[in-house]
Symmetry: C2
């Protein structure tokens, strides 16, 4: 199988190099191919998502992504921003469901900004719709002194991402919370009705409830253990998944998978952290755990995925990187993971 | 001066009655006039915002609102929902700036879901644009299998709410964080540019920075003490202000003021809590603190406002209501406030 590696900007290259080392170790038969995305692609090719990168990812079995963006490109016009490349990548790959697991590991409650008793036992999977809504609708413009964006969803866009949520719930605790703003938005009305219809038609063993986005923003902090799977639209998912990601105490440990009809896209959820880039202190755990998700969902090797996840959990005990209040370097942490693979 | 009281649904009547008792005590010259809004207005007049209520609020010097909504009306068509009445009230009164102070009082850090050292010293003012964006734009519909809502802002809508934020920052610690999603949305691009231009033109003593909404959702939990004034558009403000509201530990203590060109609207931010309505156990602190905001911003009586706020802070020490883990009833808490007024 072929995995395309897009290291990107900032700390992307460092954490991706660590992740690739682990991938090589546990799956030596995988062919790796590196390409550019984001700011470095703008610099080299004048585009944040060059054609050569597009062709490569469409021919891959899975894509491992680092991080994109940085102050160097922040002032660029929209087509030359790193983020535009990321959105184009998601779109080209057809990855409509972004999965973000949020787990507080037993014994690590002290790292959370939440009180230990609030953080204890949290195990949420956020499923964010990734190709629709206000992110992609073409009806968007600044006209004189007025700006417009359109939030739009079709029933089939809602259905396909909801299926992923219901399927995931069946492997977990069997509960889905669908998040919307149906007391105000027509789009949410369609969303709510579609999710409910699908549940009633095809997933009757799953317990489904509906909550408003503002209320979830509260409850996810006040009582996060109440959630199992959360499914929501693109913009709400952007906000809620980052919010939830803060619960375990470091973004440095949070992977994600974006799935669709073709190859999946696997990436840490943290940003490019330009302030620490190049210093060798970035936490590679999220990138390595993204490799685990790639093994599980992209290459269908769940046993290998489990091996990587155990090794990371073990390495985290004695090797805290700077974001977790320790002094372990990227290399030291990675070595601990490699040793833990046994 | 005339204050119109709209008690609304659920626990609205109980907490509003307590607030009115305090208002009568500290401002005996105020004329009070009660009217219906929300579900009870639908039941009595077939509209969640009847004409008689509209006429009354437009003739008032300030409006004290309870809470609206409840399961009884959740299945109603949009024009007959309590929330529709609330949105129409805001619109009719021209209240474009919603102010939500979030303060963790010294000694009350233990009530927060955040670790005590994270919650300590938090003192944020969220200024939410309340009449624009995706809430009000008329281009909204469900057409067959597709639903649409439009997020729209004009430069002048952004300016008028930003002025409130800059003005508030000048009385506080002099810092404003403007929140947007300018890496994705054209509306945010207009928002960001307009806020920055206004700062550079008229509020040069205020420190302004810009952050993305997903990043703020994280940082407000991880390090809330970094914020002074936050200004943002309607939908982001809905989510972030509810999120921030959870920090002090109980929504039961959080007031809000909605200001515009006419009379202001003052209301607790908690919902109608149908599960405890009618039991006499609701915490009236938020409603009473809304009276303090009404005295300060609506009637320009800052000294009286301070008196009420001190009395509430004092009452909270020995009289925890159920939401704060205590057993004080609505009446007991209110009596403690009245006594504390001296
Ligand atoms: C960089 C940005 C466009 C992106 C998004 O909003 O989707 C990021 O915040 C994310 O969540 O992956
Ligand atoms: C009830 C609802 C329409 C309202 C809003 O979203 O504005 C509420 O959540 C609020 O924040 O006051």
């Amino acid at each position: 199988p072929k995995v395309v590696v897009l290291a990107g900007d900032g700390i992307g290259p460092e954490v991706t190099a660590a992740a690739v080392e682990v991938l090589r170790e546990v799956a030596p038969d995988v062919t790796l191919e590196e390409h550019l995305i984001g700011g470095v692609a703008v610099d080299a090719h004048g585009s944040p998502f060059p054609d050569v990168t597009r062709d490569a990812v469409l021919g891959a079995d899975a894509v491992l992504l680092g991080t994109v963006g940085g102050p160097k490109w922040d002032g660029n016009p929209r087509p030359l921003r790193p983020e535009t490349g990321l959105l184009a990548l998601r779109k080209a790959m057809g990855c409509f469901a972004n999965l973000r697991p949020v787990r507080v590991l037993p014994g690590l409650e002290k790292l959370s900004p939440l009180k230990e008793e609030v953080a204890r036992g949290v195990d949420i999977l956020i499923v964010r719709e990734l190709l629709g809504g206000i992110y992609f609708d073409g009806d968007r413009r600044i006209e004189g002194d007025t700006a417009y964006n359109t939030m739009r969803y079709t029933r089939s866009e809602v259905e396909r991402v909801s299926r992923v949520a219901f399927w995931a719930a069946e492997q977990r605790r069997g509960r889905v919370t669908s998040v919307d703003k149906a007391n105000v938005l027509e789009v949410s009305e369609l969303w709510r009705g579609t999710v409910q219809d699908l549940r009633d038609r095809e997933y009757r063993s799953v317990k489904l409830n509906h909550e408003y986005v503002d209320s979830v923003a509260m409850l996810i902090v006040k009582d996060p253990a109440r959630y199992d799977v959360i499914v929501t639209e693109n913009l709400f998912g952007d906000i809620l998944s980052d919010l939830a990601a803060v619960i375990p105490g470091s973004l440095g440990v949070m992977p994600s998978a974006s799935l669709g009809d073709g190859p999946g896209l696997f990436e840490p959820i943290h940003g490019s952290a330009p302030d620490i880039a190049g210093q060798g202190v970035a936490n590679p755990a999220a990138a390595i755990l993204s490799v685990a998700m790639l093994l599980r969902h992209g290459l269908k090797r769940p046993d290998t995925a489990n091996r990587v996840e155990s090794a990371v959990a073990q390495a985290m005990r004695g090797n805290a990187t700077r974001d977790l209040g320790g002094t372990a370097t990227t290399t030291q942490f990675t070595r601990a993971v490699l040793e833990g693979l046994g």
